[in-house]
């Protein structure tokens, strides 16, 4: 586990078939690149179905961080996991829109509980669809 507790590395926790990570520090470029790689590996290793990213502590999401969040989401989708970004501050949401970033393809929820619910519902719908097929 120490691997994920290195400084400049964001710890990723597993809860059932979900991976949860919370960004509590000012995101430096290198950290988010490392996070992208770590997360892809963890999804593949754990067969996680959902990834919950809590950004409630982030004061700023610029176009680079926004693009990385969208990339992470796209990579997770290819690895058959759905990503929900939770806890975005209102000021960050307003600024992102003004900046011209729509974060297309990224699902968001107000908080961790609602994010979890989105992932569970998605998994249930998927199961129902497979059952019918």
């Amino acid at each position: 586990m120490t691997h994920f507790l290195e400084p400049n590395r964001i710890p990723i926790f597993q809860i059932g078939d979900c991976l949860l990570l919370t960004i509590q520090v000012d995101l430096e470029d290198r950290m988010i690149m490392t996070l992208k790689d770590d997360l892809a590996e963890r999804i593949a290793k754990t067969h996680a179905k959902g990834v919950l990213i809590d950004i409630s502590a982030l004061d700023v999401v610029d176009s680079f961080i926004g693009r990385m969040l969208a990339n992470i989401s796209a990579i997770a989708r290819i690895l058959d996991a759905s990503t929900v970004i939770v806890g975005m501050r209102p000021a960050v949401a307003i600024t992102l829109v003004e900046l011209g970033m729509s974060l297309q393809g990224v699902r968001t929820a107000l908080d961790v509980d609602r994010g979890m619910e989105l992932i569970r519902r998605g998994a249930a719908e998927e199961a129902a669809r497979l059952h019918e097929a």
Partner: protein, 145 residues
């Protein structure tokens, strides 16, 4: 037109942050946030200005090959504003109008840096010439009734 930082007045007298690494981009964000707090800016105003600072610092790094940011609080009392000047000695911009268009990028980015920063700040000024680098000056202040 002189593309020489230090002849601008205002922010030329303030703090200078070198922009040479990704960690410096984070430092620019912290310094911008502290300056906005000093003038009593609202959360949203601060977020706009810090986001613009982040975009411009990254441009300085990625397209300008590094440079610096000068930041100062100018004006007095309720007319105080935060002014930031980003400068580099990089290749410069041949077509500024094109560079300010959403989605236009010569690098791998989304092309929102300059256009986005312009939308997020109350004042925005850019000077650039091929071979002479780029200077972007932005300013923001807080709305008081």
């Amino acid at each position: 037109m002189r593309l020489e930082p230090g002849h601008e007045g205002g922010a030329a007298d303030g703090e200078v942050i070198p922009i040479q690494t990704g960690a410096d981009v984070s430092r620019v964000r912290r310094v911008a946030a502290a300056a906005m707090a000093t003038i009593g800016a609202s959360k949203i105003e601060t977020t706009r200005m810090v986001t613009a600072a982040s975009e411009l610092a990254r441009n300085t790094l990625d397209y300008g090959g590094g440079g610096e940011m000068r930041i100062a609080i100018v004006g007095r009392m309720s007319k105080r504003k935060v002014e930031m000047i980003f400068s580099d000695r990089g290749p410069g911009i041949a077509d500024i109008a094109l560079a300010l268009k959403d989605g236009y990028s010569t690098g791998g980015g989304l092309g929102l840096g300059l256009s986005g920063a312009k939308r997020l700040c109350k004042e925005f000024e850019i000077r650039s010439a091929p071979g002479e680098g780029t200077i972007v000056k932005v300013a923001s202040w807080t709305e008081r009734p």
